[in-house]
């Protein structure tokens, strides 16, 4: 058994070294989001990072938008890329800046799990936008399960690279958890994709067992 674990760990290590890039240099989960965004729409990117997605959407889809970001160095890069970026803490909500139904779509990629109140933030997304898109690392992915279930340690993977004591990810969840939240909050899921470590999009098997085989979950949703 321990040999099997060693083997799996080695596989993980290999994966962690892999380039996390998709087509046109866009991170694969961002490439999937980009496909879901219509031309000439207005978007808000919560936790926009270095503005890669917004820059891509502006150039490829003529999308107008703003990014909210807290990290000063990311903001510097956004300004360099000529992105409209607003320095803000998402934990303070969006009320200070945005009225209802301002955007066609509100995006939050790989940020949900690091916010103080993800449920309220999702509500805020659907207040200011008609649709929301979130991506998050799925805690029920088999690698995470393996580490917790067999090794008995908090999972550390490529998508969850931090140790338990220094992780910014204070609200990790699983595919099932997220869907339960949507149900309880009267949110309709319009599209779901899960990708694995190489960001290959859903094989039939992965789509059949998203909670087990999906490493990153990507959802598009709106108010029922």
């Amino acid at each position: 058994m321990s040999q099997a674990i060693e083997h799996l760990s080695a596989m993980e290590d290999q994966d962690m070294g892999k380039q996390d890039m998709g087509k046109q240099g866009l991170r694969a989960d961002l490439a999937i989001i980009a496909k879901w965004i219509k031309r000439d729409t207005k978007v808000l990117d919560l936790g926009c990072g270095d503005g890669t997605l917004l820059a891509y959407l502006r150039e490829q889809r003529s999308v107008r938008g703003y990014g909210l970001e807290i990290n000063p160095f990311n903001i510097e890069i956004c300004v360099e890329k000529d992105i409209n970026v607003i320095q803000a803490n998402l934990n303070n909500g969006l009320k200070a800046y945005f009225s209802d139904n301002r955007f066609d779509c509100v995006i939050m990629s790989q940020t949900l799990q690091a916010t103080e109140q993800p449920d309220l933030l999702i509500e805020e997304m659907l207040r200011v936008g008609r649709e929301g898109i979130v991506t998050f690392p799925n805690m029920a992915h088999w690698r995470a399960r393996l580490q917790l279930g067999l090794k008995g340690i908090m999972p550390v993977t490529k998508n969850l690279p931090n140790q338990w004591f220094n992780t910014p990810n204070v609200h990790l969840c699983t595919v099932n958890d997220f869907e339960t939240l949507c149900k309880n909050h009267n949110i309709e899921i319009l599209q779901r994709t899960v990708v694995d470590h190489s960001h290959k999009q859903g094989s039939a098997l992965m789509n059949l067992f998203p909670n087990l085989l999906g490493e990153i979950a990507i959802y598009r949703f709106r108010r029922y």
Binding site: Y66, P72, I75, E76, C78, V79, E80, D82, I83, N84, V85, I86, Q87, A88, A96, Y97, F98, S99
Partner: protein
């Protein structure tokens, strides 16, 4: 005193003056039949006049934004850290203009100049000019240089308010608006500080109802007090603690009312040196102009509505320890801009220096500023 001039300095500069003989009707309904505007320029205007930048100065600023007047000059212009070849406002790319606002005391018509109708100093009879009047003045000035629009208007504090006014009054003549450490209007606390400053000037026995120049005197003590008060509001508690702590000037308490602490000495020095370079009536006028600034007033108190017409792109910058115009005040501007669906970026710079931070070349601040300006420059060609 620069023994040599750095490569990134605009070098030796001089103030020029333009005389305007076309009458100017001000917001207060008074008319100036003629007036002078003192200004400086740095860099070269390009062939299609598309690279002109207007710098708006703050309360105690003037047209001398960058460079030195001579090799003996002790200090560079007030924003030398940001203006020059290779600096944030790159004079290799842009033609930069800064003028002394009307009512100022550095060569433009103001209380310390002669009223052509009476042959005497204007003194307190110089009309109160507003931020809107300044924008109008700057607009006329722009046309006089054969410039049709500014590729950017940039200013901090009261200067930032002029930038806002530009986007409201001349919405299509400004391509980029950089509003630094500003506010959409003054708070009661801001006005209260200004009032104490004014009272200290006006209660000086040498004030003579503002006609002090005719009496060959200046209200030194009053103006000094006003400046000392101002300085307290420009610094943060932390900045003062870092700079002075409770350090004693002579290493011991003197049990008297003269200077014990370094901070007292600093304030007195700032006050005294200000008196030598600034006019008390101008100080009164500038503080009133600040108090009156409220561009949303004519738009149902809706700043977003006021800003609706402009196509300018905005960069709004605030500083964490600024309590004179705190980040929340800049956020009010940002909120209105977002509501009006304008292109805007907003950066809150971590800084301990208080309101003064906008003049200090803090690396993150300069990096963002430089990148933003570089993008503007790229679109020129």
């Amino acid at each position: 005193m620069p023994e040599t001039i750095d490569d990134d300095s605009v070098g030796i500069v001089e103030t020029q003056t333009i005389h305007f003989s076309q009458a100017l009707t001000l917001e207060c309904d008074k008319t100036l039949a003629e007036y002078d505007i003192a200004y400086e320029t740095y860099g070269e205007l390009n062939a299609d006049a598309s690279n002109a930048i207007l710098i708006c100065h703050a309360l105690s600023g003037d047209q001398h934004a960058a460079g030195y007047y001579s090799m003996d000059d002790k200090k560079a212009g007030w924003w030398d850290s940001a203006i020059g070849p290779g600096k944030a406002i790159d004079t290799k790319q842009f033609f930069v203009v800064c003028l002394n606002n009307l009512g100022g005391c550095k060569g433009s018509s103001g209380p310390n100049t002669i009223n052509p109708e009476t042959g005497k100093y204007w003194g307190p009879d110089f009309p109160i000019v507003t931020v809107k009047d300044w924008a109008l003045c700057q607009y006329r000035f722009m046309l006089s240089l054969n410039i049709n629009y500014w590729c950017a208007v940039i200013g901090g504090s009261l200067g930032g308010m002029q930038v806002l006014q530009w986007t409201i009054d001349y919405p299509d003549l400004i391509k980029n608006a950089i509003v630094i450490a500003a506010a959409p209007k003054l708070s009661a606390q801001n006005i209260a500080f200004n009032e104490v400053a004014r009272q200290s000037i006006m209660s000086d026995p040498d004030f003579h109802n503002g006609y002090y120049l005719e009496k060959n005197t200046v209200p030194r003590r009053g103006l000094m007090l006003a400046r000392m008060l101002g300085h307290i509001t420009y610094l943060s508690d932390d900045a003062m603690r870092d700079k002075f702590g409770r350090e004693l000037r002579e290493g011991k308490l003197n049990f008297g009312f003269d200077v014990d602490f370094q901070v007292e000495s600093y304030l007195r020095y700032q006050g005294r040196s200000f008196v030598d370079r600034f006019d008390a009536n101008t100080y009164l006028l500038m503080t009133k102009s600040l108090d009156y600034f409220d561009p949303a007033q004519n738009y149902d108190d809706d700043l977003a509505l006021a800003l609706k017409q402009t196509d300018a792109k905005f960069l709004v910058i605030s500083f964490t320890s600024d309590w004179r115009f705190a980040p929340e005040r800049s956020q009010e501007i940002v909120k209105a801009l977002l509501q009006a669906e304008k292109q805007v970026s907003y950066i809150e710079i971590e800084a301990s220096q208080g309101h003064d931070a906008f003049l200090i070349p803090i690396p993150h601040y300069m990096a963002v500023f430089t990148s933003y300006m570089r993008n503007i420059a790229e679109k020129l060609s």
